[in-house]
């Protein structure tokens, strides 16, 4: 890779979502960057790319994917990587991220972020796939911790241990989703503070902040409501450990008016500026 280092970027961003396209283009917003779902812009033309180009003229962009399937045992799809590379070359993003998960196998794509076992065999697969992605994209990957609803028998390491080893072996970076840590901690019964203390802080380039829902006996990562107090509290603790790092409000469903998200982003700024303060 010609660029093996992603410079830190200190800023507060939002996800670029269709209901807000026109406002984002019309207004002068206190937003330091926008994150876009890569696949929504891996298209041939039309409004998505026209909007993306216009937004990119005014704001840095982070590309966030959901379909790389970095944990698939049968490898990555070359056509996907080439389309992503084309988009990255067009956007010149802050970074390209995707999830520590798999989405399908044998040509089937569930379009869901499916859980990986955390064992040596999975580590070998994920490392090989991250290397392949980085070689094609010619840039380091940023990998996000997922929410999960099952864990596998025979797991040999924790999720944060897996991510730490993945960074060491591939040179990738991390996108730390604070909500996902909280959701998985509740679902699997681990201590989220141990998780935050266990990740390599120097590899974290971005933080996601989002809301979740109470399912039957577990939390569900729905991204359809404001960031709740326990996630803000964890974000404060993470901010103390990570120092200044790009943070973003991630809202994917039941999307509120843009001003609501801007107000939430101001909350994030406040918690990051004063990580000793108590969460409301």
């Amino acid at each position: 890779m010609p660029d093996s280092v992603i410079p830190p970027f200190e800023g507060f961003g939002l996800g670029l979502r269709p209901p807000h396209y026109q406002e984002v283009l019309d207004r002068d917003l206190a937003v330091d960057f926008f994150e876009v779902i890569s696949e929504n812009f891996m298209v041939k033309g039309g409004r998505p790319l026209a909007v993306l180009d216009a937004v990119r003229e005014r704001y840095p962009i982070a590309l966030h994917g959901v379909s790389m399937s970095i944990g698939s045992a049968d490898g990555l799809r070359p056509d996907y990587l080439q389309r992503l590379k084309t988009l990255a070359n067009r956007v010149q993003p802050l970074w390209v991220s995707d999830h520590l998960c798999w989405t399908g196998i044998d040509g089937f794509n569930s379009h869901d972020l499916l859980p990986l076992p955390y064992n040596k065999a999975a580590m070998e697969t994920v490392c090989a796939n991250v290397h392949q992605a980085q070689d094609v994209l010619q840039r380091p990957m940023v990998i996000e911790n997922p929410s999960s609803y099952v864990a596998f028998t025979g797991d040999e390491m924790t999720e944060w241990g897996f991510l730490t080893e993945l960074c060491r072996r591939t040179g990738c970076y991390l996108l730390l989703d604070i909500n996902n840590i909280y959701v998985s901690a509740v679902n699997h019964g681990f201590d989220p503070l141990t998780y935050i203390a266990g990740v390599p802080a120097e590899r974290v380039r971005q933080v996601h902040l989002a809301g979740h829902s109470q399912g039957r006996g577990r939390l569900i990562d729905t991204h359809d409501r404001p960031v709740p107090d326990p996630v803000w509290a964890l974000y404060q603790i993470a901010s103390r450990r990570l120092g200044p790092v790009a943070a973003m409000i991630e809202r994917d469903d039941d999307i509120p008016p843009l001003d609501d998200l801007l107000a939430e982003l101001d909350l994030a700024r406040g918690y990051a500026a004063d990580p000793e303060a108590c969460a409301a």
Binding site: G45, A122, A151, H188, G215
Partner: protein, 249 residues
């Protein structure tokens, strides 16, 4: 067990095939955890179909659309890396499910074509000024890459337009004249327009590689020279106005 085998078992569970994957789940809540993924897989695909086939959904109503979507999802596991490819065969399935209501599949086909046009390839249209130096004897037409067309038997276009305006749609009826729809993108906005059999046949021939002079000869044979000249002028004017033409070489 290898990672590959574990992932195959997990997918089998998602797809309702026999799978021992529950034995690989730690803790005592494995079944309910797996159920979250089982539900999310279907819910997301049904939501995707609802987003793509918005007017069809409004026409069928919630229960009938949900039943059709469930049936489609069960029979069509996604293959593509992008959800925007999902649902391409929904119109064909609906034609089988609703053999006596052809407007259902036609509405679906229109929804699908408009979605394809939405993020299809960009192209710069030509205008009347670009026709000055055309050698009409050898001229070949190239149309915007988002152009799609298909014959219709019903008033699906009127139904679609009423639904788009939140108006009460007309009852489905069969058309009395051969008609087709063309779908394309004008600037950034997907469009559609009805065509008579002559325009459809002419566009079809040109897209298959017929030259302008070959089309003129065909129209002359079928319409007579005078009517053919009038018709070709009207068609050319309409295609230029609608930004369908991107080059004449």
């Amino acid at each position: 067990m290898s990672l590959l085998e574990l992932q195959r078992q997990f997918c089998a569970h998602l797809l309702d095939a026999p799978s021992p994957i529950a034995e690989r789940i730690a803790g005592d809540s494995g079944a309910s955890g797996l159920a979250v993924y089982h539900h999310a897989y279907r819910a997301q695909l049904v939501a995707c179909l609802g987003d793509t086939y918005e007017k069809l959904w409004a026409w069928l109503g919630d229960d009938a659309f949900q039943a059709a979507a469930d049936r489609y999802v069960a029979a069509h596991p996604p293959q593509s890396w992008t959800l925007s490819d999902y649902g391409s065969a929904f119109p064909e399935m609906l034609a089988e499910v609703y053999p006596d209501d052809p407007e259902v599949a036609e509405l679906a086909r229109l929804d699908w074509a408009l979605r394809r046009a939405f993020d299809g390839e960009d192209a710069r249209p030509i205008g009347a000024a670009d026709l000055a130096d055309v050698d009409w004897e050898t001229a070949m037409f190239r149309f915007t890459p988002t152009l799609q067309m298909f014959p219709i038997r019903t008033n699906c276009a009127g139904i679609w337009n009423a639904l788009a305006l939140d108006q009460t749609p007309p009852a489905a009826t069969c058309l009395t004249e051969p008609t087709a729809l063309r779908v394309w993108r004008l600037g950034l906005a997907p469009q559609f327009s009805s065509m008579d059999a002559c325009e459809y046949d002419s566009l079809f021939r040109l897209q298959l590689g017929a030259s302008f002079s070959e089309l003129c000869a065909h129209l002359g044979d079928t319409l007579g020279e005078a009517q053919a000249a009038l018709t070709i002028g009207q068609l050319l004017g309409r295609w230029l106005q609608d930004h369908l033409l991107i080059s004449i070489v």
